[in-house]
Symmetry: C2
Subunit: 589 residues, 2 copies
């Protein structure tokens, strides 16, 4: 079972959940006309389905291999990447001034979903490059930008992010890699980094590493970290890759999933020191990293959506074809397709409802990021910034959590066949698992939401968000078709409001109580907002044609969410609004 890019569903979400049209109409992205958007989605869908999806199995089976100190990617990956970057996909949302196409992040988000659904291990590489573009574009010196940015935007060279060290994962303040100043203004970098995604590979003739390290006089902790650009090959006078820099891949991890993506142990300065160039100011490296964090977290959230969509498509195809037993309504001879069994329909509907909700949240985040960059009115820009700040941890954690849940359901729909690797459902399950961990574990996301985002503007940002959810649901009460669902959808919104008051109060004098409920608080928030995503889709569908199958499916998906997913999520408030000792969390393990 291969992947068919769900272009119609994606376009529907871009229009009715986010608002791509108004980004163009308001003049923020004048070039993102409906025609351009449609053409982009169509072409991206075709490339994803036809060129990338077929790579996914070999990426898993053969994987990336280390030969000597060079990583060789799986069969066909080089050619696919060459054609993908040649088609300009890498720079879709990069500013035109950097050589990009300057299209909205929102449109790029839809494309990222498709690349990653086709192959998460393949789609991951460009995410890192896009992050490097972001960091270098915002903080790099003119000389550095001139030398590297164009190549990164085009995708001719790829970028990496070198943060993690064995003792410094979630806590980057603990990192030990060091940098020494040289008289020529460059630096020499020494240290070992682990878990470096696409740290080495054969897709491009050069690789641009962004590396966090400490200068000798650096303050301790996170305020003493600087960011350096360390190319794999130093450039000659014409800016072409020339001499090998003192950086190498010393090993590849043997991972549960995304085998096609090389996860490298990188050694900097094994000999004379790796030549590096400062990005931004000394000791301000973490701030530079934070500028790209929102985008990267959105991108990883989209990986969750992507793998969920892929798993859903595969389970749906299997459920239509596989016959076992006779369902109650089966009138033909022989066995019914298992999609006729209510329990299988439930699993498929849960997969669909979670996938569509997560997609909508990610797209809303992308739109907020677009508006935070381009809105002319400072107040609207700030609102968009705040919304993006709030949605970032919610979208990242929820979408990657449901990526795991949906991929697991995908196996379950297949029964025993799902446990056999050749079926492919198991690969999605294995691949999905990392997205809840990297780019800030989902626990870190929940802590970010509770301790930094909920208190924004003394709680006014969150209060405004909740009011927005309520407003969006208001039209339902007056619509006979949806009036019965409105109270169910309001349950998590009301619960979120109560839980938010608890969290804000707890943060003042008993932060452990707020932290203890961070994970369910994030889930509650996502389900409340996800309900609004599905309500937008269903209301738009009903207004267009409630009898058309695709539109009916959107209405039915809302029914499923409202009756099956919203009430248990609302009940999470009980657990959030407890002190941590009462929740048993002070126990002696």
């Amino acid at each position: 079972m291969t992947y068919q890019a769900p272009v119609a569903d994606i376009a529907f979400a871009l229009r009715h959940v986010a608002d791509l049209d108004s980004l163009q109409q308001e003049g923020l992205y004048p070039e993102a006309t409906p025609d351009v958007a449609a053409a982009v989605l169509e072409e991206a869908g075709r490339f994803a389905s036809e060129r990338i999806a077929p790579l996914n199995r070999d990426g898993d089976r053969v994987g990336a291999r280390l030969e000597g100190h060079g990583v060789v990617t799986a069969p066909g990956w080089r050619e696919a990447y060459r054609d993908w970057s040649a088609a300009g996909w890498n720079g879709l949302a990069a500013p035109a001034s950097f050589g990009g196409q300057g299209l909205p992040l929102l449109l790029n988000a839809a494309c990222l979903e498709m690349w990653n659904a086709a192959s998460m291990a393949f789609g991951l590489g460009p995410l890192l490059t896009m992050g490097a573009v972001e960091a270098l574009g915002s903080h790099g010196s003119p000389a550095l930008r001139a030398a590297y940015l164009g190549k990164l935007v085009s995708g001719e060279w790829m970028g990496t992010m070198n943060l993690t060290e064995p003792q410094a994962g979630s806590d980057l303040g603990a990192l030990r890699s060091r940098a020494e100043r040289r008289d020529d203004g460059s630096y020499r970098i020494f240290g070992q980094k682990i878990f470096i995604t696409y740290g080495d590979h054969d897709l491009t003739p050069n690789i641009v590493h962004l590396v966090l390290a400490r200068l000798p006089n650096a303050p301790a902790g996170t305020r003493g970290i600087s960011l350096f650009l360390v190319p794999k090959y130093l450039l000659d006078a014409e800016g072409r890759p020339d001499r090998r820099n003192d950086v190498l891949c010393a090993g590849l991890e043997h991972k549960l999933g995304i085998h096609g993506s090389p996860t490298c142990t990188m050694v900097f300065g094994d000999k004379e020191g790796a030549v590096g160039y400062l990005v931004g100011e000394e000791h301000r490296g973490l701030a530079c990293m934070f500028t790209m964090m929102n985008n990267a977290r959105l991108a990883v959230g989209l990986q969750g959506v992507a793998i969920a969509e892929r798993a859903y498509q595969q389970a749906l195809a299997y459920a239509r074809e596989r016959r076992q037993g006779r369902s109650a309504g089966w009138r033909e001879g022989g066995m019914s397709p298992i999609i006729d069994h209510p329990d299988v329909r439930r699993m498929l509907m849960e997969m669909r409802a979670k996938t569509v909700a997560a997609r909508g949240l990610c797209y809303q985040l992308a739109e907020a990021l677009d508006r935070s960059r381009r809105s002319e009115d400072p107040a609207r820009r700030e609102d968009a910034q705040n919304l993006a700040a709030l949605l970032t941890p919610v979208a990242k954690a929820f979408a990657t959590d449901i990526g795991n849940e949906v991929a697991s359901l995908g196996i379950q729909v297949h029964g025993g066949t799902g446990f056999i690797e050749e079926t492919g459902a198991a690969q999605h399950f294995r691949d999905a698992r990392i997205a809840a961990i990297y780019e800030g574990t989902n626990g870190i996301q929940a802590i970010d939401l509770v301790t930094r985002k909920v208190p924004l503007g003394d709680g006014r940002v969150m209060a405004g968000f909740i009011a927005g959810l309520r407003n969006s649901l208001e039209p339902m009460a007056g619509t006979p078709r949806f009036a019965g669902l409105a109270p169910l959808l309001l349950q998590p919104v009301d619960a979120l409001e109560r839980a938010t008051a608890f969290v804000l109060a707890a943060l003042r004098d008993r932060p452990a109580d707020a932290l203890a409920g961070a994970a369910p608080y994030l889930r509650l928030c996502a389900v409340a907002a996800g309900g609004v995503v599905l309500a937008r889709e269903a209301m738009a569908a009903a207004a267009i044609d409630p009898h058309d199958p695709a539109h009916r499916r959107r209405i039915d998906t809302l029914h499923f969410h409202a009756t099956q997913i919203a009430p248990p999520a609302a009940a999470l408030a009980t657990g959030i609004m407890r002190d941590h000792a009462d929740a048993g969390l002070e126990t002696v393990f």
Copy 2:
């Protein structure tokens, strides 16, 4: 990180959640004295931790391999199995008349948990043998029993269950393997079976296959299936393995997990037909299989508990050792162990609460099976049979679902390290995934609960079960320590009562509505009953010594379940008590 059998926790559950002591005191299992039980647990724990646990990694990495038509198990497995069976573990709960030790299934359940926690792929083999003992002991002719039963009870030979065919998985009525009668009273079997666990291996000199097939005159569907015993080697006049039978392993599956357990495609009758012997009556094979179903489902449920316990131990050890960041209460220098972070504590507590609840439900099922076999009073025997019937799908599905959930949390606690295969957390996640599928998928379990178990005695069995849950919680209301938790624990019990009334009414004239909610109904039932399991542990712990760390942990685990797990589960009732169309399940996918 290896496995330390949690003998004290297991013994506590055997005494305070189930009631092993009274099985002995009432004379049902007079030989199961406290001393014997303690010695059994101690020895089993030692064997599991010291001999089996070290096999688990190579079982995964090397796996079982097919060489020619013979399966070779991973290094060390032959020796470990030899010593395990020589120690008498295989026949622990088999009747003394068959050469077993005649100890309670309840005690064996504790041992099964330990074998499977040490290595699920290793522990799985004996489960099949125990099933074969069950089927043959109940339905085999005296001659068959004389020839095969003793060897199976001792574990000198292992057994298999050959049910599944490509077109016949959950729906066994569709199977096509055929049997022909021969004049000597034997049969010849022809057909292909897939997904046959331990279908071939080198652990024992003979393998006893139990095979479902159709006779030529058989009625269609499930009422035309017969059960045959087909040995790998036919026996000579002295009953020793002699000539190879016409059955072979044609291939091994490449699976997501349990690589150490060979999953075989078995070909019967490739040449002259595999010699088989009828077990039970012609066309009554499925009834024979059903006699062993409860035990097998319990055993698979115990695999869920086992893998959850294993994953919990590993995550706990990592969380104690790994240091990142500084928790709020951290007063020492450097970083705090991550177990000090509330979100990590939450994950560990969720792992623990789910594991202990699932263990308790499985043990209660085992006790019910013991009482259904040996209670002298027919009314009590029937009560026990009914309880076992009810608990079987609940324990199997819940324990294996939480096996997946806990193993996934186990990865999450490890962060990026959890995604690396060498860590071992990923293996538990992969291994766990099959238990929700085999021995009846968890969807099949939910359907069994709703359509066959809830209606038992016109709903009186379920009503009695719910009343029992209420009774068990009653002492809490009067205890200051627990009074606040009682209403939270009653939420799912009340919800279960309402949902049960809905299901019973729906079954009468709109079964699809009952089936649509089967999965959440099962979950609700398990969480309601699991709360009582944890309440029993906590009340016993408080009565003994609430300040002892192990006892305090039991009390805290109840707090976690009551505040965090019970309320969302109770809210599942909203979704169950909807017609399937209103839940969106009539959609056009």
